[in-house]
């Protein structure tokens, strides 16, 4: 059964491996370049010395130079979970039903529960390895930039943590269900991808930028007559690089800063990842139940 699963999914496995290789080459090149530039600019010493306050020009230059370069990798990766999951999911059941091969597959000496469990476990395992590898690469090359900017912006938030793998599994789960319901592989792929977007986009927005746990606020005394505090400064108004500032409003002699603290990254990742997994698992459970009901 393990061999059969491998044989049926080896094309996707090869595609995943190719994607990992391409991302790895880009990530290592960019990562090394960034690390060299980071230390050549003397940023580690500056950060250690003053938290970045007295080398803002250099930091701004560094961030400016590498933000678009990293986005060249991370932005295309945004669509990968949806595409890969929506392609793999319908192949599991949808294609078997469309081509009638379920009649052959389920009349061998493997009970269909074991058949389905084996496939689900192995394909899920493969997807988890793929997702973890991509996220690890992104986190690695991103590390220097993370010290002087926030990880809570969309492209790094989605690719550099748990969300990437969880949304991939979500798309896969939806694909398994749409495959069973539509029995048309291509149609199921399209519907799965659209469903994934519908589920995912608000999910991401709510967990990240729209911040379900609610933003933190900070009141700062006005310096220099409060001329729009963070103008011209790369350091966030909170004084801490990882924070994502959402708004700064002036109230008398104080600035009210609404922001997402850097420390929320993993909390938000767990929430978003958990929601994705929940949707994916519900779709798979629904598919298993329907299959069971239709054939017994």
């Amino acid at each position: 059964m393990i061999w059969v699963t491998w044989r049926q999914h080896r094309t996707q496995a090869a595609a995943c491996f190719a994607i990992i290789c391409v991302v790895a080459v880009l990530a290592v090149t960019l990562g090394l370049w960034m690390r060299t530039a980071f230390s050549d600019d003397g940023l580690p010493a500056c950060l250690a010395r003053s938290g970045g306050a007295d080398c803002q020009g250099k930091i701004a230059g560094f961030v400016h130079k590498f933000t678009s370069a990293t986005q060249l990798i991370s932005v295309p990766l945004l669509a990968i979970p949806g595409f890969l999951g929506a392609i793999t999911g319908p192949l599991l059941l949808g294609r078997e039903l469309e081509q009638g091969t379920w009649r052959m597959a389920w009349s061998q000496t493997v009970p269909r529960t074991r058949w389905l469990t084996t496939k689900l476990v192995l394909v899920t395992g493969g997807l988890v390895i793929f997702g973890a590898a991509i996220s690890a690469l992104v986190s690695w090359y991103q590390a220097p930039l993370d010290q002087v900017s926030t990880r809570l912006q969309l492209s790094t938030y989605v690719t550099g943590g748990l969300v990437f793998t969880c949304s991939l599994l979500c798309a896969f789960g939806i694909g398994v269900l749409t495959g069973l319901l539509l029995r048309n592989t291509i149609g199921a792929m399209v519907v799965a991808y659209i469903s994934w977007e519908i589920v995912g986009t608000p999910g991401i927005l709510l967990s990240g930028p729209l911040h379900i746990p609610g933003p933190a606020t900070m009141r700062l005394p006005c310096r220099d007559g409060c001329p729009g505090a963070s103008a011209g400064s790369v350091l966030p108004a909170t004084g801490h690089f990882g924070d994502q500032v959402l708004s700064v409003t002036r109230s008398g002699a104080q600035l009210i800063v609404s922001y997402l603290p850097a420390g929320r990254f993993w909390t938000l990742q767990f929430i978003a990842g958990g929601l994705y997994l929940l949707v994916g698992a519900a779709a798979v459970a629904c598919a298993v139940w329907l299959l069971h009901r239709r054939t017994t």
């Binding site: 059964m1 081509q99 061998q108």
Partner: protein, 299 residues
């Protein structure tokens, strides 16, 4: 040898939505039989076979294979039946070698030498993809898989439909050889009555979801007679049950189910051929409350 029942169906029925694909089927087939399953398209043959294999669950009644209910769908049950589905579905992107590898990895009793030898004898290249094979070659690979599974019951749904006449003969010969050699039970659904006659010793006739006839062919032929009677003879005056009647100017040819054989000075009483028997039952109209059955599918 004790009488083992290979297959036992009792009140077996399958409904698709509001339509009954199969209803009220009761029969028992002893082990070692070669069974022909005959019926027009949509009669419920595929449904009956899928129920036997356990791919579908019955709506009512039950079916047992060697004393075990089919729907249990455990590895033990699955090992007892090998199934060649209609249109011999296989993974098109697999090579022939891949399909045999699949058979080996999914079946503990897989007969590898048999599979490899058979494919080799047929001249089917192992490295070729299934989708690149001709329909006949695909059917042969599928049959090879069914044979190599080494199950005591083999269920074949229209296995020869895509074969040319010569390949059909060879194909049927291989099935017969396997049946005789390993003492397995075989059920073959087919439209080709002449081929079934040479092959089978048991017959099931199915029309519109109902079982019309079931039994050993010798017994069935012994229990039926073809009578030539004067045209004016009414059905009620004939012995047994009239299955088919064909009226010409002065005489009528009537197929009756009657045991012992009827005798009458004015009648010509002849034995029936296999084909006459099958065709008579296929033409026989069912009870009017039945509607044509659907093809088997999940849901």
């Amino acid at each position: 040898m004790t009488e083992v029942q290979a297959l036992r169906a009792e009140g077996l029925g399958k409904r698709y939505g509001h339509i009954w694909g199969l209803r009220d089927c009761t029969f028992t087939i002893p082990a070692g039989s070669v069974v022909g399953l005959v019926g027009p398209n949509g009669a419920g043959k595929t449904t009956m076979l899928a129920l036997t294999v356990g791919l579908l669950a019955p709506t009512e009644g039950h079916v047992e294979v060697f004393g075990e209910p089919s729907r249990a769908h455990t590895a033990g049950t699955l090992a007892r039946v090998s199934y060649l589905a209609q249109d011999h579905p296989m993974y098109g992107s697999f090579t022939v070698a891949d399909m045999l590898h699949l058979g080996a990895s999914m079946n503990p009793a897989w007969d590898r030498p048999l599979a490899e030898q058979r494919v080799d004898t047929l001249g089917i290249p192992l490295k070729r993809k299934i989708k690149a094979l001709s329909g006949g070659q695909q059917a042969q690979v599928a049959l090879t898989m069914a044979l190599a599974k080494r199950a005591p019951l083999m269920v074949l749904d229209e296995p020869v439909a895509s074969l040319d006449p010569i390949a059909r003969l060879d194909f049927m010969r291989d099935i017969m050889a396997a049946a005789a050699d390993k003492a397995i039970t075989v059920i073959i659904a087919s439209h080709v009555i002449s081929e079934l006659e040479r092959l089978c010793d048991w017959l099931l006739v199915l029309t519109e979801g109902r079982l019309q006839l079931a039994g050993p062919i010798d017994d069935l032929r012994a229990g039926h007679r073809l009578l030539t009677v004067p045209r004016q003879t009414a059905d009620a005056d004939l012995p047994g049950t009239v299955i088919a009647r064909d009226d010409s100017d002065r005489h009528s040819t009537v197929l009756v189910a009657a045991d012992p054989p009827p005798q009458h000075p004015q009648w010509v009483v002849e034995p029936v051929s296999f084909e006459q028997l099958v065709l008579a039952y296929l033409r026989r109209r069912s009870a009017p409350d039945l509607v044509p059955a659907q093809k088997a599918a999940i849901g």
